[in-house]
Amino acid sequence: MFQGTRQIFLQVLVLAVSVLEICLTGCQSNGLVVASVNDYSHKYGPGCPMPPCLPNSIANGDGFIKAMTAPGSGWVLKERDVDSQVDDMDFVDAYNMDSINFDQPNTAISYFTGHGTCGPYGATPAQACTSTTQCTNPVPGTTMPGSCKYGPGDNSQCVYLSDRFLFTDSYGDRFGGQVDYSGGRVHWGESQNSGAWAGAGTDGGTNLVVLDISCGVLPTFWLQQLRPAMAGIHLLATIMPVTGDTANVSDRGSAFGGSWAQYPSGSVTQAWLTTMNSIPGSGINGGGCNFVAAFDSTSPRALHKLNEDWNDLKNDGWDAQGTGAYFVRWLCNWAFSQTDQTAFELP
């Protein structure tokens, strides 16, 4: 009898190990979705090279693709859309919208390179301040809270909370080509592994969203502006100008993807942040920071995401299960020596 029990136990053990192995190799996402927009002439005026053309977006997105899909890489390009192929529905959480494009299942990295917006934010002329407690008069299009923003070469001034947008320019746009990812209609990363806690179902699945745009997030509103879009992604990487604006460069994507090719056991977060060191002018005109945020249900889980390597990033077993805790990391293009709370604002 014991012999029979032992055999059953071993068979169950073998099955469990096999399932575990299959999950470790099978519960992985290796897809890439890249959306690059140079041409905004349909809605905003003359075509390239006249403003508001972004002549480097496609080169930038393609640089990322090229770096990530070297022979034998294991990454799979699921979607490469450019210019008018990119529409606002690709990003919005609804049936047959983001789940068949930017946030489709089995995607590891979703990369958008195009226009964002830096306003509305502060007043013109500026509301001078010495403390955030003075910032109580939101400008049109913004709401409280305010912040007494402080940056390099800048006089401190009041700024206020506003939603963040990315912009598309396509005949297929249904939302004016404006994707408000702070407003609750965008959810990225929801999957069977994350669960449906974000109220977005489980039909998504990307693990890293890269927003290579103007003012993807603004100081000091990272929680309010980014948390609504979190539905299971491991990381969100973007750019946070402080006294300047993002530069539309051709090599941020290749520098980021190149870091994977250089060393897959390196940190994904550091790979994004340090692109700043290797591209002309840091990729930001004026003062600003490359930015990565990780949210999850607990602090240790959020920290794990912030420190993921490229193999961890593929692992859907680490999809976020909530937004109760966060870790944020910046690399900023100037020297901080502050040890108090004045990194970005005067409290």
């Binding site: 403003p51 530069a247 420190n307 108090d340």
Partner: protein
């Protein structure tokens, strides 16, 4: 099936994907000579580097890079152009140590001296720019904002030849409080005499304010008065190395008109106030005012081999 069989099964599954590769030699570390009148370059490598690979170092060639990979990190040199990157493991303990020195200036000085010692040409080092790594964490429902903490500095050497900037070259490092380099990267190619002398001529020609402003005025939405630079193929370009004297003009790419949302379904009230902001672009002009693109800006892999929109749902 017994325990040995289970062990064998696990071991065999775990070994999937492991392979060994024949490895070509890395480019020789040291000075890269230039043609007469040019600017020599520097090829980075492991010799003299304070980056620690750790134990069990092996050489591999993959994804276009020649690598030395140890227990703690890797040195990867791009086979096509020699750009070099030292990257630590994502969770290596050396990343947790604070920054070197008592100030950003201490860090900059250390990194500058370090790169000079291992071969970066002193006379080509322009400004040293500090980057600061900050981190913050907390509960999302906390009312008070936690204080960002300085985790590290990066010092970036900006290259200049005869005072003319070379913004596509770089040498940067992050040093921890033990004086150990935990990340670094170098791309410092040689520049030909033709390119350097061309840049010097362009700089001299544009010292005439009339000619300079005439050239700037040809560029719509130009900001500032432009800068003469030596531009070259970036560290991520595989094709033949190219370099150019350039008059770089910064342009703000702001919409000419903002009729956003006028004919489209409204997403919410914020539609009425959102419009793209003026992302910055650098445009390049030669001595005759003719615009040109850098190799990395000409990149376009086209549609071949990619899926069309919607096909992914199959």
């Amino acid at each position: 099936m017994d325990i040995r069989a289970v062990t064998l099964l696990v071991a065999s599954l775990s070994l999937v994907g492991c392979a060994s590769v024949d490895v070509a030699p890395a480019p020789r570390q040291g000075t890269i000579p230039a043609t007469s009148g040019g600017a020599s370059g520097y090829q980075h490598g492991g010799r003299g580097s304070l980056f620690v690979l750790g134990e069990h170092v092996k050489r591999v060639s993959e994804y276009g890079y020649l690598k030395e990979v140890g227990d703690e990190g890797a040195l990867a040199i791009k086979a096509s152009n020699g750009s070099a990157f030292c990257i630590p493991n994502a969770n290596v303990s050396s990343l947790e140590s604070g920054p070197y020195g008592g100030s950003p200036e201490d860090h900059d000085r250390f990194v500058r001296d370090y790169f000079i010692r291992i071969g970066v040409p002193t006379e080509q080092i322009g400004r040293v720019r500090t980057m600061t790594l900050l981190e913050v964490s907390g509960r999302s429902d906390e009312a008070t904002k936690p204080k960002p903490e300085i985790k590290a500095y990066y010092s970036v050497l900006q290259r200049a030849v005869y005072g003319i900037s070379v913004p596509d070259s770089f040498a940067w490092a992050r040093v921890n409080n033990a004086g150990r380099v935990v990340e670094e990267a170098v791309y410092w190619p040689a520049l030909s005499g033709e390119v350097v002398s061309g840049a010097r001529r362009l700089s001299e020609a544009l010292s005439d304010p009339t000619r300079r402003s005439e050239l700037v005025s040809r560029v719509p939405r130009g900001i500032g008065d432009g800068e003469v630079a030596i531009r070259h193929a970036s560290a991520w370009v595989d094709s033949r190395f190219e370099a150019f004297p350039s008059f770089d003009v910064i342009v703000r790419s702001q919409p000419v008109r903002a009729d956003v949302g006028s004919t489209y379904e409204k997403l919410d009230r914020s539609n009425d106030r959102a419009s793209p902001s003026g992302t910055i672009i650098v445009r390049h002009f030669d001595a005759d005012g003719v615009e040109f693109l850098l190799p990395q800006e000409r990149r376009n892999i086209g549609q071949e081999g990619t899926q069309r929109k919607g096909d992914a749902s199959e």
